[in-house]
């Protein structure tokens, strides 16, 4: 018997099409696992979209940036890890600690703050490129 997959890995180039590919893969993973609360799906997808978009729009490299994503569902958590090969200093500053929502009528600048609010854990490390780790604890079924 084949078990439903609980992990999906993707590779691509850091362009907006990759964000759509990751969101489609995540939808497929959720459908395959089946019993994930809607709020968990929504907020985790939101955080994944924000971080993937950040990776794909905030680099200034004059060569294509390779990016990989690993999406995992366990009994207790939803996890994602992104790894890109942009230079460690590009983007120069990622202020995860200081990311807060801007004023209501701002048209941009919400991404990292939203990802932090939607997750239980978000970290960014510079290690041979950039590594983003996302985790949301699953609500227990009532």
């Amino acid at each position: 018997m084949t078990e439903n997959p609980t992990k999906i890995a993707l590779k691509g180039t850091a362009e907006l099409e990759f964000v759509d590919e990751v969101l489609t893969a995540l939808e497929g993973l959720f459908a395959s696992v089946g019993d994930i609360a809607e709020e968990d799906r929504t907020f985790f997808s939101l955080a994944v979209s924000e971080i993937a978009t950040n990776i794909c729009t905030h680099h200034n490299m004059d060569r294509p940036v390779a990016v990989s994503a690993e999406l995992t569902v366990t009994a207790t958590a939803l996890r994602a890890q992104f790894h890109d090969d942009a230079d460690p200093a590009d983007p120069a500053v990622i202020d995860l600690e200081g990311a807060t929502l801007p004023e209501d009528l701002a048209e941009s600048g919400r991404g990292l703050a939203i990802a932090k609010m939607a997750l239980d854990h978000l970290s960014h490390e510079v290690a041979d490129g950039h590594v983003w780790t996302l985790m949301k604890k699953r609500r227990q079924p009532r």
Binding site: L16, V19, T53, D104, E107, A118
Partner: protein, 110 residues
């Protein structure tokens, strides 16, 4: 994301279908700008077929709201799913982007 636009006597309706994210945000901004340039500043964004929104989509709606108000109109949301409503609430943007149950009710009070 697919996008359709319809104009009516007293308002215009913009209907994004699918995910409203960075790849679709420029198109909805452009569609709203075109409507306002053509004199349709009372705009309903019908979210009945919008399954997901992120900060890029929200930014496009905020941009549209500001442009509509500058033209003495308004931009209102209609028929948002529970998922989209939860994102509006998380970001506190439910205070500025008002969601109405149906497209027809969005401008029925004025």
């Amino acid at each position: 994301m697919n996008l359709s636009v319809t104009t009516h006597a007293h308002h215009a309706v913009v209907s994004p279908e699918g995910r409203l994210t960075a790849s679709g945000a420029p198109r909805i901004k452009q569609a709203i700008k075109k409507l306002i340039d053509e004199g349709h500043a009372r705009i309903v964004v019908d979210l009945a077929q919008t399954e997901f929104i992120d900060s890029s989509g929200l930014g496009a709606l905020i941009g549209g709201l500001k442009a509509a108000r500058l033209a003495e109109g308004d931009l209102r949301l209609a028929a948002a799913s529970d998922s989209v409503k939860s994102v509006l609430k998380l970001t506190s943007l439910d205070r500025v982007l008002r969601d109405y149950p149906t497209v027809d009710s969005a401008f029925s009070d004025d």
